[in-house]
Amino acid sequence: MDRILRTSFLPRALSILALLILALLMAPLAHGQVAPAESVVQPQTVVDILHQFSDKADIIFAGQVLAIRRTNNGVVEVEFRVDQAIRGCTAGTPYILREWAGLWAGDSQRYRVGQRLLMLLHAPSAAGMSSPVGGLDGAIPIRQSSVALAPEDDLATPPQPPYVDLRWLGARLPRAVSYQSEPAPGAKPVESQPLFFGQLAPDATASGSIVNFSASQPVLNNASVSDASVPAQQASVNAVMDMLNSWQSSQEKAQHVAP
């Protein structure tokens, strides 16, 4: 149980009792897990999740959607320009993702032409169909900084680099929960923001990774109060691609060493 329960408003003894009950309750769940479940390590950071996705993906690249074609054979083709290739494709050569049309039910737009994405994909099935690892969480948006230039900034100001928006991956993390007492109308919250796990703290270095996320470019540095709940779960494209490359290299070395 790595979940943290904040029970500061309860008597300490009651909190301990509650945690004991939780532990007892969760024990049989853990005890009865089958082998694959036992091997799953709960991620603690966004980097952990990205690493898990990377391990599951057979095709990884950063690119831009060039075209979307609905075919007559139950497949939707999404053509990408591959800018940076990590695995299973080649930079500069278009990659065509073929998705089951059932995923596009109701004319839903899973991708848009012009969208830039970091794609982590399953290998195509025998029928040639594939999809991102972890659903659309494996199609990670690459965004341009929206930090507005001040009027006095001249054109010589370098543009903000694009960044990888990892917030949907962050939504998969276990997190602390805290409650406030039911407020009287108009009352202020009794406590500030709860702790969020998975934030890319300036010096956060994930286990197994060699890239220090201090290289990431914080974008929400002037977030308003309404944005305060959004953790800075983003990093520069280069930082993420370097990390994916390092994992790829490690994997190749491990495969080379393995008998």
Binding site: R3, G102, A105, A171, Y179, S181
Partner: protein, 254 residues
């Protein structure tokens, strides 16, 4: 199933319950449902009406695969799981009633499903053209072959169950904004000897049923997740079933 035990736990004394809802809110079957608006609203040029897309009549029947879901979940247990997930949506304030209409004609697997010249070919009674007889086909993908076929190799792996335990598709909507047919694929590799695995699958299936009956995502009480403003206990207890973020209120076992 754990559900009766959980209901018992939920009757714990008031103060103790305050620290438990995060773990238990995923078993909210006994609590009021909080879903969003319609998933789709009709509009031209395809639709002839601008009404929300819905089922007609309000009593779509689902038909379950005659096979087992896995070696741990036989056919009867799988049917019970599906019924529990579907019954959540049978509420007195809605005219829609989800109920079982019977069984599919044959166990659906990679042996009888493939990509043909006009799309994925399922057994005849599973196909959307059969919507007058069978509106919702619930497939027990015991070996994960259907999930892999549709989503790619390795998609059915147990480590991907958070996303791929249930695959849903509404594959026929008429121009009059009526949902005619849907498919649910239950990944048998996401089940096992641990009851928690089935409970989690049931939770995901409950959400998938919500999607195929035409419900959109809900962001009610979003601050329970974002923490801004800090949530109250009451808000946490009313986390929407159809929130786009799949929070089972405790770590998944996979």
């Amino acid at each position: 199933m754990l559900l009766p035990d959980l209901r018992l736990w939920l009757r714990l004394s008031g103060r103790l319950r305050i620290v438990l809802p995060v773990v238990f809110c995923c078993f909210a079957a006994a609590a009021p449902l909080w879903a969003g608006g319609p998933r789709w609203v009709g509009g031209r040029p395809y639709f002839t009406t601008e009404a929300p897309v819905r089922w007609y009549p309000g009593h779509p029947l689902y038909f379950t695969d005659p096979g087992d879901l896995s070696s741990s979940v036989n056919h009867a247990a799988a049917d019970a799981l599906v019924a529990a997930a579907a019954n959540v949506w049978n509420v007195p304030t809605a005219s829609l009633v989800l109920s079982r209409g019977g069984a599919l004609d044959e166990h659906v697997s990679g042996a009888n499903t493939f990509l043909g010249p006009s799309g994925v070919i399922f057994p005849a009674d599973v196909q959307s053209t059969n919507y007058l007889a069978k509106q919702i086909a619930v497939i027990y993908d015991s070996d994960g072959s259907i999930t892999d076929l549709l989503l790619g190799n390795g998609a059915s792996d147990p480590t991907s169950c958070l996303q791929n335990a249930v695959t849903e598709s509404v594959d026929s909507i008429s121009p009059s904004a009526i949902i005619q047919h849907a498919i649910l694929v239950l990944n048998g590799r996401c089940t096992g000897p641990a009851p928690a695995q089935q409970t989690q699958l049931q939770y995901q299936l409950m959400r998938a049923f919500g999607r195929i009956i035409g419900l959109g995502w809900s962001q009610t009480n979003d601050n329970v997740f974002t923490g801004s403003p800090q949530a109250t206990f009451n808000q946490a207890m009313h986390w929407p079933v159809m929130h786009p973020i799949d929070i089972i209120c405790g770590p998944y076992t996979y």
